[in-house]
Amino acid sequence: MSISFKLEAFEGPLDLLLHLIDKNKINIYDIPIVEITEQYLEYIQNMQTKDLDLMSEFLVMAATLINIKSKMLLPKDETKNETEEDPRQELVERLLEYKMYKYISVELKDRELDAARIFFKESTIPKEIEEYKEDVNVSDLLSDLTLAKLHKIFESVVKKQVDKIDPIRSKFGTIEKEEINLSTKINEIQEYGIKNKSFSFRGLLEKQANKMEIIVTFLGILELMKIGQVIISQDNLFEDIQITFIADRIAEFDESIVLN
């Protein structure tokens, strides 16, 4: 099946999922998860985007779909009396909600067109009246604000800022500051691939110095799969993945793919 348009056209993972459901004319309440998951993965494989943040959001959705798919393939637990919730339920709810806002935003756009046809007027206060304008009374403004209160407010601002910092990841201080260049890593993998032709995924990861390098290596493999430089195979579930380098030369990569 040929992909006739670019994935970048989608706003996000839900948008793509909605499109697939639309295209297949499927009832949103009854998504054939296997079919949709396969199509979804196919789209992701053809993704042209280099935005890793965006890419990861699509991947999360793909993982969700696969998770649901696997749950549905598992035999029902007979020992449990209560009726188990359909694993698709939550996804369906999210999709319906998203669909509703998409619909509303079109309505809003329509209203905006109408509203744009009216004109307002600048305020034209006559001079005599303008002079009556009162100054803002600062002491009234600050009437119930004490220094202690101001101090408390600042503390809560600082607290909020601290909360935003992930204490676990922030401990990789020295590593984080070191920029790992995705394109460099991809080239390394390619050189390794030309030399070794076929190699173990696990083995490759074990050669990495730290977590960040492992992540970048993993992303590099994904990227190489996407452009068809490598193919992967796995004999059984949870077994090591075998990577085979099928290209005959190293593909050039944009230097701008940098992971901080």
Binding site: K25, N27, I104, S105, A115, K121
Partner: protein, 189 residues
Amino acid sequence: MELKRLEAVIEAILFTMGEAVELERIAAAIDHDEETTKKIIRNMMDQYESEERGIKIIELESAFQMCTKQEMYESIIKIAHIPKKHVLTDVLLETLSIIAYKQPITKQEIEAIRGVKCDHAVNKLVEYNLACEIGRLDAPGRPILFGTTEEFLRSFGIQSLEDLPVVHPEKVEDFKLEAEEEIQLKLDI
């Protein structure tokens, strides 16, 4: 003051100020209670609407503003300079719809609905004065709560948040029926 005179004063106030003026302030200026003042203004709104006039009064939550009628647009653009409008992309519109219906809402909640990061979209909406901070959620990190502005109401011709477009239940039913008919052709697992 007799009614005609009060109407004249309100007309003068709304004309002079140009911007939206809170009911509270108008009531104080004409020395009447808010309930009465609202009745007078609503009555004026009907008059402007029914008579062949070029201007009208719109209501924005509890404020009122004078503006031209929509059908005057073609003639006015021959003279007036049209203020440049921000182009709202689909992403911004979707984000704005979510804020409008779910306010007060945090960025995290918006992200949960859209499935993608929304920092950029929310910041743009704040910059365009269509959304604004309306407080902090009492939860870890005290995340900022967002809501829509008066400018939002004005830009979309909405009187109050109760006036937001709704998805009619029949419409939702339609979506479902459509899909159900079509699914007959498809294999399900």
